[in-house]
């Protein structure tokens, strides 16, 4: 009987099995089970109750505000993210590293503080708050504040996905376009952007998911006025605190679906990039 030959970097089958099982087990308990519980809980009283929960007028109101927030925050993010990625990836200038750190800042700041800053800036006790309110401009406890807080929180997403992609591509493509006679805009639209579509799409997906799902920051600035300043996550919290568990979980499934779509987009983009590189 001959001994099975193993390459020095191949883990023994037992080790492979144990580690794989351990990883799957940990993932199942830590992540899989909670998500399964959301779906199971949402459907506990049947499909009809589920549909009633997600078509409830208050849910629809919350969905509308969420869509409004996404519709403002995500385009702001795209403009900023594309501009930042262009400046930071294609050029070198003093202070570039500091700027990148500054872009990362919202990742490091607690969402609660991200909301707090706008209460301090525009609230009733701030410098300009009373003047704004006197002129009918409500920011805190109003959709405007929710949008501002969401822009703050999602600020780095598009820039952070695009930057590595544009950096890796270098400047040669753009230079080739310029000597071909293209203007700056033509270069951007016809060469830079088509080559970074995937990264842009992934960044937009992440920003959308986060904008729709932001809770802490929005919680602080919303003031919880039912049907007026509730986004979907805030609506879920209210349902949950009113012990309407299956209702809360039903609405939560909408956001779970959004998260899964986001991951699917990012996965497809990465797979595409890997195939291109090969």
């Amino acid at each position: 009987m001959s001994r099975r030959r193993v390459r020095p970097t191949d883990d023994p089958a037992v080790v492979r099995w144990v580690l794989t099982a351990l990883a799957l087990g940990v993932f199942g308990v830590l992540v899989g089970l909670p998500v399964a519980v959301v779906v199971a809980g949402a459907l506990r009283h049947g499909v009809e109750a589920y549909l009633r929960a997600i078509t409830d007028p208050l849910t629809v109101d919350a969905l509308q505000l969420t869509l409004l927030v996404v519709a403002v925050a995500v385009p702001v993010n795209i403009v900023f993210g594309v501009a930042a990625a262009w400046a930071l990836a294609k050029f070198d200038f003093p202070g570039r590293a500091a700027l990148i750190t500054l872009i990362d800042l919202p990742f490091a700041v607690s969402p609660v503080i991200s909301g707090l800053v706008f209460v301090l800036l525009f609230g009733g006790r701030s410098l300009i708050g009373p003047w704004l309110i006197a002129h009918g401009w409500h920011i805190v406890f109003a959709p405007a504040g929710i949008i501002l807080a969401t822009v703050f929180v999602t600020f780095p997403f598009v820039a952070r996905e695009l930057l590595p992609a544009l950096e890796a591509a270098g400047r040669t493509n753009e230079e080739a376009a310029l000597v071909c006679g293209a203007t700056g805009w033509q270069t951007f639209w016809r060469v830079t952007l088509p080559n970074a579509r995937g990264a842009l799409l992934a960044g937009v997906a992440l920003a959308t998911a986060r904008a729709a799902g932001e809770f802490g920051a929005v919680s602080v600035v919303s003031g919880h006025i039912r049907g007026r300043t509730n986004t979907l996550p805030l609506h879920i919290e209210i349902l949950y605190n009113e012990y309407d568990f299956s209702g809360a979980l039903a609405v939560a499934t909408l956001l779970v679906a959004l998260a899964l779509v986001t991951l699917a987009i990012r996965w497809a983009v990465d797979a595409h990039a890997a195939r291109d590189a090969a």
Binding site: N173, E175, V179, C180, Q186, R190, N195
Partner: protein, 271 residues
């Protein structure tokens, strides 16, 4: 807006006058006080060891880099500050820099598209170039699906599409294996004889420079050491550096030519 050359353009004479360029403040100059004249329609080989400033000089001609001092003229017109897109040059990058999201034909059409040329004119020109480059039938391919030698021809076709007055090539055969390289070199020489567009070809291969060019310029650490015809250079290298730099070729090849271009025996493919 300045009119962009798109139909047949007469080849331009290139005048480089006292051009210098350093990359960081106080750093050694990548190009130091270079003056060089390339008559219209000639092919100049820019020769020199790695890091001697060949690419930098070429990029200055293309408008991708701007000199710290000195002047570049095309046909007596100062173009030193003219942006790359308005210079009417074709540029073949060392790495080809083909647009990966476009097909071969779309790459070649790119310079015409950004000039908003009529559709049928673009189609005809692309067809013409595919034939000229001997890559008929590859038009619909993605550029990731062609060989290195073919990619090289696509890059050249794209550079030539808008009828540039000047063609700049940065080590165009650097990434190819010896066989393809020699074949393409011969072919490029014949193409140049046909098109007569003023060309600057960067190479660090002495043999290539001598075999193909009307004029050879030798750079060393940013300085122009020598500029002359291949025959003159071989006869009188004029400096120890040029002598040393060319010695490998002199030892390794029998020089047989005497005319406008020097022929190097083992570089000549069988006909």
């Amino acid at each position: 807006m300045t009119a962009l050359p798109s139909r047949s353009t007469a080849p331009a004479a290139i005048d480089i006058r006292n051009v210098s360029k350093a990359f960081a403040h106080g750093a050694l100059a990548a190009v130091a006080d270079v003056s060089l004249r390339i008559p219209a329609g000639q092919l100049l080989a820019l020769l020199g060891p790695s890091g001697s400033g060949k690419t930098t000089l070429l990029r200055i001609l293309a408008g991708l880099e701007f000199p710290d001092a000195g002047v570049v003229q095309f046909d007596g017109v100062d173009v030193t500050d003219r942006p790359a897109r308005l210079r009417g040059v074709g540029f073949v990058f060392q790495s080809y820099a083909l647009f990966r999201h476009l097909t071969v034909a779309e790459n070649i059409a790119f310079p015409l598209r950004v000039r908003h040329r009529p559709r049928n004119e673009i189609r005809a020109r692309v067809e013409e170039l595919l034939v000229l480059m001997q890559i008929e039938g590859l038009g619909g391919r993605r550029v990731t699906q062609v060989s290195g030698g073919q990619a090289q021809r696509v890059a050249l076709a794209r550079a030539l599409a808008p009828h540039p007055a000047v063609l700049l090539l940065d080590e165009p055969f650097g990434a190819l294996d010896t066989e393809v390289r020699q074949e393409l070199r011969e072919w490029l020489r014949r193409l140049h004889d046909e098109l007569r567009v003023t060309s600057v070809l960067v190479t660090h291969d002495q043999e290539e420079a001598l075999a193909i060019a009307d004029l050879v310029a030798v750079l060393r650490a940013g300085h122009l050491e020598r500029a002359a015809t291949p025959a003159e250079i071989m006869a009188r290298p004029a400096s120890a550096f040029v002598e040393r730099f060319l010695s490998t070729t002199r030892a390794g090849a029998r020089c047989t030519g005497t005319g406008r271009h020097l022929e190097i025996a083992h570089a000549e493919p069988a006909r």
